[in-house]
Amino acid sequence: MNESHVSEADLHGFVDGQLGPATRRQVEAYLAARPDQAALVAGWQRDAERLRASMANPTLLPANPALEPLRLRQALRRRRRRRAALAATLVLGICLGAGGGWQLRATVPGSGAQPMADAIQAHRLFADTETGPPPSLPPDTIQPWLAAQFGHGGGLPDLDELGLRPVEGQALVTNDGAAALVLYADSSGNEVSFYIRPRPGRTIEGARTEGGLLAQYWTHGAYSYAVVTRADDPRAAKLSQLLAPRT
């Protein structure tokens, strides 16, 4: 007889079906011996039944399209892009201004001096793996846009064989003139960006890693190009093979 070990917590556990078989039997024996406690527990059970009945069938709530996950994801993405675009005009303006002897140089150590710091910065602002893969855009919407801005320099790389499709084009401004970022994404939302900017004073060519991102860059004609990936992206080598021969 260890009925006396039954606690109030056990009684709640009994009502809520959260007891193991042994404790459950113990509580049953206890309640059989204590009509006052049995009445209390029965009251709790009735309250629980009423509550369940009053809230049954949540699927009967009127549909609300504003709560559709896909729609929320897209809205979230748009909002973030707008914010990133705004930030880009500020951040890139300052970083690149640093090249021209701008006083804020000290606050962005080194970034003004490093080649293609703007490409990495832009990738960081726009690549966004948090909200899942974005719907891809047909390439023929981005290509004419790019060509309009950069003429022959604005060829859109076809990265289909790496599973990457263009998802977004973003116009940017550098102190050397207009730049553009084209974002590619694969089916699980990993993003790679292709960046075009007017060639700076010197010809830049090579690769460097900064903060977990790898930028591979080259110059051709009047423009410099970069492709930015995560530093551990297995496609990086293949990308440079695909893109570098364009020179």
């Binding site: 959260q18 509550l51 009945a53 009053s54 949540p58 609300n64 996950p69």
Partner: protein
């Protein structure tokens, strides 16, 4: 994969809305709360533990949003009252409150944190541990709240047994 996640989300949606409704007691603000919570969840999708329970994660976000929102609106109301030199305006119209009370019964008179707990355990069938996780309190607090909530419901329902406070639909 996000597509699968979305399907899971869609499936949980009615229950999230129900939980939100039990908190806000007003359908329009319940859906606003769900929307804000989903936006928050989607924007921190990668902070979710892969092995974690999606329901507990989402319900936890929703509950915190609700509590934060309450705090904000209390501050706001205080500020309004202070600016206007008037007592705090009522949060919802009397009619809305009466309707919600009728639907929720005595539950609507419980303090928010006790109401949330009862709904999680009784309606959602959450374990005490899950409820503790969702509400962000120790399990001991869950047990003491549960005890107070049940005591309150008993006293209200039994004390006014003759009143049509609860409409039990059979």
């Amino acid at each position: 994969m996000p597509d699968i996640d979305d399907a899971e989300l869609r499936q949980l949606l009615p229950r999230l809305r129900r939980f939100a409704l039990s908190l806000t007691r007003d359908p329009a603000s319940a859906d606003d709360l769900v929307q804000a919570s989903l936006e928050r969840a989607l924007s921190r999708w990668d902070t979710r533990r892969a092995d974690g329970d999606m329901r507990a994660w989402l319900f936890g976000i929703l509950y915190r949003q609700f509590i934060d929102g309450k705090r904000r609106s209390r501050r706001f109301l205080r500020l309004l009252g202070w600016l206007a030199g008037e007592p705090e305006p009522a949060a919802a119209s009397t009619e809305d409150l009466v309707l919600a009370r009728a639907a929720l019964g005595a539950l609507g008179e419980l303090p928010d944190e006790q109401r949330a707990l009862l709904v999680l355990i009784v309606v959602e069938g959450a374990s005490y541990r899950e409820a503790a996780e969702i509400l962000g309190v120790p399990i001991g607090t869950v047990m003491s709240r549960l005890s107070r909530a049940r005591q309150f419901l008993r006293s209200t329902v039994d004390g006014e047994a003759g009143l049509p406070r609860l409409r039990v639909v059979r």
